[in-house]
């Protein structure tokens, strides 16, 4: 395993490219970024820009051939299967469509990763799961199935499942998609509280500009604008909003006229 460039660096992406089989062009195109522990980084961009794909590459769900991803200095693409498993234990992800196991109850959804990836005893697993459920305000819903709880509760359960393994890096894929503004606010608070408490590196892919801009303003989190697999600008909310790049300008102001045509917003 290689060494990270600085001690605090939790993630470094170097010239990463990825093309889906049968696709005409790359979904991720020579993308580079880095993230320190306790950093929050927002990834914004139009639909089909490659945000989810990038997160799935970082989470080890997709395999890549070009470029490299370093998790705390360990090059994901060059590790053996067993070492990769050890490194990926430090990364957690929440999914756009929840990704919750619908054959398991709320509590079992938290116990399952603990059973699979830790050496904790059954009692310790239960204690930890109950503690996390309290943290995300899901006490009382332990025996319910994911389809029996609301969308907001599902998002909270997804976050709880990401937190339960106490990762160093958490990837959130559109955490507020489909939620009302109040529930969205709760979810954002939950993400920020969890991030503050454990100082985890946090990467949030979102199409919700208000969310990205307001959190960036509060926490001075960086925002990266992704379009057609390329990270075309990284900056503060002010820099992104005032960007002269026509694509970013059109996107941040929601203009119909501009370089982004409906066919590109797939």
């Amino acid at each position: 395993m290689g060494l990270s460039q600085n001690e605090n660096e939790v993630l470094r992406v170097q010239e990463l490219s990825f093309t889906f089989p049968n696709a005409s062009g790359p979904t991720i195109d020579r993308l580079s970024l880095s993230l320190n522990s306790s950093d929050i980084f927002f990834l914004i961009g139009p639909s089909g820009a490659g945000k989810t794909t990038l997160l799935k590459l970082l989470g080890g769900i997709y395999s890549y051939k070009a470029g490299e991803i370093y998790i705390q200095g360990a090059p994901l693409g060059r590790l053996s299967q067993s070492n990769k498993k050890l490194v990926l234990k430090r990364v957690a992800m929440t999914f756009q469509r929840s990704g919750l196991f619908d054959s398991l109850t709320v509590l079992e959804n938290l116990l399952f990763p603990l059973r699979e990836l830790t050496l904790l005893t059954a009692k310790e697993r239960l204690q930890l799961a109950e503690q996390i459920l309290r943290q995300v305000n899901l006490t009382g819903a332990e025996s319910k199935y994911p389809f029996e709880i609301s969308g907001g509760m599902q998002k909270r359960l997804g976050i709880a499942r990401a937190l339960v393994l106490q990762p160093e890096l958490i990837l959130y894929d559109d955490p507020t998609a489909g939620l009302d503004p109040i529930t969205s606010h709760h979810i954002v608070d939950l993400i920020l509280t969890a991030q503050n408490k454990k100082k985890t590196g946090t990467l949030i892919a979102t199409s919700d500009l208000d969310l990205a801009f307001s959190v960036s303003k509060k926490t001075s989190a960086k925002i990266g604008f992704l379009c057609q697999g390329k990270l075309i600008q990284v900056g503060t909310e002010k820099e992104i909003f005032e960007s002269r790049n026509p694509i970013i300008h059109q996107f941040t102001r929601g203009l119909l006229q501009g370089p982004l045509t409906p066919s590109e917003l797939s």
Binding site: G59, A92, G99
Partner: protein, 261 residues
């Protein structure tokens, strides 16, 4: 033009068949790996044995009971027509049940009961990103989803075939006593005279092969389904259609191997 289209279609089908075959190989390898590591997913496997096997008993018993009765009526009619006597009806019906209809009909019924379910379950896990969540936890979906279902399905196919045979032969004995005047003693004597141990062994092998095809083809359809709910339905339908076709082809190949070479 037509030849090009046919050629492309053939290449696609061969590709799909090979992909299913590789999934079968990787499932078997995963299972061997689990056995060697002594890290067997006992809970999931037992659950699948219950869901796929035990919960299918009733439908198999009812269906195969009627198949047994139908065979007696059909064979009695044809033998009386051609040979002018029906003393060999028990032997032929039992042989036909053991060598062909028992494993084939049981596994076709099993396909329609569990094949669509497996494809739909895995397909909906794919579109709701549960498969990605498994990979994120470094859990191989083949390890976690396919191997337990594969063991459950092979177990279900073999045990249900044996149970179905017993029911069909007992049903036949009952009807033969009522319709043909053959006493149960005579019936079973004739059956045991004609049906030999190798027939039973071949029947078990056939049902194990058919049972092993069901979750593999269904899982392949589930893993490769599109990303909308219509695609899940299509995957379930295709799982049943393809498995049924593969079972019939495999039955011909095995019958040829056991009895024609």
């Amino acid at each position: 033009m037509i030849m090009t289209w046919l050629g492309r279609a053939l290449i696609l089908k061969v590709g799909e068949f090979l992909a299913t075959f590789f999934l079968w190989i990787s499932t078997v390898l995963s299972m061997i790996k689990q056995l060697l590591k002594l890290k067997f997913r006992a809970r999931e496997t037992l659950l699948q044995m219950y869901l796929l096997g035990v919960q299918s008993v009733l439908i198999m018993v009812v269906a195969m009971g009627f198949v047994g009765l139908m065979l007696i009526i059909e064979l009695a009619f044809h033998m009386n027509l051609v040979l002018k006597h029906d003393s060999l009806v028990p032997a032929f019906s039992a042989l036909l049940m053991v060598r062909e209809l028992g494993p084939v009909i049981t596994c076709l019924l099993l396909t329609s009961r569990i094949g669509a379910g497996i494809a739909a379950e895995i397909g909906s896990m794919k579109i709701s990103e549960q498969l990605d969540a498994l990979k994120m936890l470094s859990i191989d979906p083949i390890d976690y989803l396919v191997v337990p279902r594969w063991i459950g399905s092979v177990f279900a196919a073999v045990t249900l075939t044996v149970i179905s045979l017993a029911i069909a032969i007992w049903g036949g004995a009952f009807l033969a006593a009522q319709k043909l005047g053959t006493s149960p003693g005579e019936y079973f004597n004739t059956v045991f005279f004609f049906v030999k141990f190798p027939d039973l062994a071949h029947c078990i092998v056939k049902s194990a092969v058919f049972g092993s095809l069901i979750p593999i083809v269904a899982a392949y359809q589930g893993f490769n389904c599109g990303s909308d709910s219509a695609a899940v339905g299509e995957a379930a339908t295709q799982a049943v259609v393809r498995t049924s076709l593969y079972i019939i082809i495999a039955d011909f190949l095995l019958t040829y191997l056991f009895y024609a070479i």
